[in-house]
């Protein structure tokens, strides 16, 4: 997806994953992240992708991929099958982000989630000044043709995690390329990060 600054995001995700982990990339696109992680961390990877042409691409690269829908097909996996699940730039396009999040932390020990932050100052400014739905590098569709159903801000995401019993362990700062300990909700976080990238896990009862 053109949204992704591949090298930067891939590297940060790779830094979050220990070598030899089992990983499912939900919405795995053409499989390039899985390939990258295979090379960097020798992961045992699986993909899920809704777009059949991209499924075909994955097959031709030797990536194990399920043609499937994050909203419907995660239920088919047993608890804790994977060490890590990854959902990059897909959460906002799901019908039920809360269920998808809950499923991801059910089928894997930890989940890595990234999404375009609707609270970023550029977007907020576009709405506030121009009174138009924002179009940016990370949000490249106009409002009437966007596949995105559920935009959220970083603060919204933090609230959703709390509601769904999900612990945020780390947050990436994609500007500085650093992984930070998660300090909690604050205005600056939602204001200055174009992308939210989080490492989360299920809070055990």
């Amino acid at each position: 997806m053109s949204l992704i600054n591949e090298k930067k995001d891939f590297k940060i995700i790779a830094d979050l994953i220990p070598a030899n982990s089992s990983v499912i990339d939900v919405g795995c696109n053409d499989g390039s992240l899985l390939e990258f992680l295979k090379e960097e961390k020798d992961i045992n990877g699986r993909g899920m992708e809704i777009d059949q042409q991209k499924v075909q691409l994955c097959l031709s690269k030797g990536i194990s991929v399920i043609e499937g829908d994050a909203d419907l097909d995660l239920y088919d996996y047993p608890d804790n099958l994977f060490d890590y699940s990854i959902l990059t730039y897909t959460l906002q396009a799901t019908k039920s982000p809360k269920n998808v999040l809950s499923e991801l932390v059910r089928i894997s020990s930890k989940a890595i989630i990234s999404f375009p932050n609707f609270g970023h100052w550029k977007i907020a400014t576009s709405l506030l000044i121009k009174r138009k739905m924002p179009i940016s590098e990370k949000l490249s569709y106009s409002w009437h043709e966007t596949p995105n159903l559920h935009f959220c801000t970083i603060n919204d995401f933090i609230d959703l995690c709390e509601e769904a019993g999900i612990r945020i362990e780390k947050q990436a700062n994609l500007k500085t390329n650093r992984l930070n300990k998660f300090y909690g909700k604050n205005l600056l976080n939602s204001y200055f990060n174009e992308v939210g990238l989080f490492l989360v896990s299920k809070i055990k009862n």
Binding site: Q52, L59, S60, K61, G62, S64, V65, I66, E67, D76
Partner: protein, 371 residues
């Protein structure tokens, strides 16, 4: 290189069948394409469907038509005969040279007829395993097939997991549903209702149960097609006439088409074989030897698998194929899945479907490169 070969197997130790009986010195007719390499790591086993046979990529000796999977098997095709050693055996119980009801029982010197033991999909696979052993192949690079062929693939994955590097089960199921059994029973009853069937003793008679077999084929053929495809191909169009005849002749094109399918089928298929093979499919439940547990049945499977289904297949629908995917996922098996959109119905795996071509080629090529 690809001419039909026949080998006698189980010459020393009889093959014990699920029904308790056994077959000694039974014949398997098979074709091969390409060459087994020195590493013996390039063998692909193709399992045919109910009415298929070993002529997968060569002209059929009776119909003279090209092989049933020539779209997929051949030089530069997904199953590339320049690269792979392809083996396609006729299943036991079949009628193209492998031991089946129309062959001579070596113990009595007479044609088997309905004395042939009732066989299962597992029996067919055990027989295929003897052929693979005979060919000196320890590990098959890929086992593939559609419909009943897909059942054989699943059986291979379950019973001989260490022998299968990768597998492509297509348009299939882990067991036969009540609807599947019902359709097969309809076909069997139409054969047995033909007086020429004569309890299966018709091989020395001039009158063979061709009408019964033909009706069986007509009924089955409907189940291989989708409603949309039938509608777009035939609609309510009349056959060589402009108005209804007010008779029971073939007024509609679809009637004429089905009759043709039935008539031509009987030239190349044996009615008793049809009974035996449909029975084997009905009995099929890959988990039956594990008290119905699919997880237990595939717990030793380590192969890389690609499951394929077709949107308009109502005989072995996507939901049945997804069941396989779910089990494999649960076991952490390296499984891929693709659902191909087409109105071609169950028969799609036999048609020139570019997306099937692409998926199989991508999977086979990349899997062999990463061997």
């Amino acid at each position: 290189m690809n001419e039909n070969k026949i080998v006698e197997l189980a010459t020393e130790q009889a093959l014990v069948l699920d029904c308790g009986k056994s077959l000694k010195s039974f014949k398997t007719a098979y074709t091969t394409y390409g060459k087994l390499n020195d590493a013996k790591d390039n063998a692909i086993l193709i399992c045919h469907a109910l009415t298929g046979d070993q002529y997968v990529a060569s002209n059929h000796p009776i119909t003279k038509k090209e092989g049933w999977w020539s779209y997929i098997v051949g030089p530069e095709k997904p199953i590339d005969t320049n690269k792979f050693f392809v083996v396609c055996p006729n299943v036991i119980g079949g009628c193209m040279g492998s031991t089946g009801p129309k062959e001579i029982n070596s113990e009595t010197g007479k044609v088997y007829g309905t004395d042939f033991p009732v066989i299962t999909i597992a029996d067919m696979v055990r027989a295929q395993k003897l052929l693979i052993d005979y060919l000196g192949i320890e590990k098959i690079f890929c086992v593939t097939g559609g419909s009943m062929g897909g059942m054989l693939v699943l059986e291979w994955l379950s019973k001989f997991p260490e022998m299968v590097h990768s597998a492509i089960p297509i348009a299939t199921a882990t067991n036969h549903s009540a609807q599947n059994i019902a359709l097969n029973e309809l076909a069997r009853q139409s054969i047995m209702a033909d007086p020429n069937w004569n309890s299966g003793n018709y091989y020395n008679s001039d009158n063979k149960p061709l009408k019964g077999l033909s009706v069986a084929r007509m009924a089955a053929h409907i189940s291989y097609l989708s409603k949309d495809a039938l509608h777009s191909k035939f609609g309510r169009n009349l056959q060589d006439k402009s108005s209804l005849d007010y008779s029971f002749d073939a007024d509609f094109q679809i009637e004429s088409y089905l009759r043709h399918q039935g008539f031509t089928f009987v030239d190349r298929f044996d009615a008793n074989s049809y009974l035996y093979i449909t029975r084997a499919m009905d009995y099929f439940d890959v988990s039956s030897s594990n008290d119905g547990s699919l997880i237990e049945s595939f717990k030793n499977t380590v192969s890389k698998v690609l499951c394929i289904s077709f949107t308009s297949d109502w005989l072995y629908p996507t939901s049945e194929n997804k069941k396989i995917v779910k089990v494999f996922n649960t076991l952490g098996i390296n499984v891929s899945f693709i659902e191909i959109e087409t109105d071609g119905g169950h028969d799609s795996f036999l048609l020139e479907e570019p997306k099937l071509f692409e998926a199989m080629q991508g999977f086979i090529k990349s899997t062999y490169e990463n061997l």
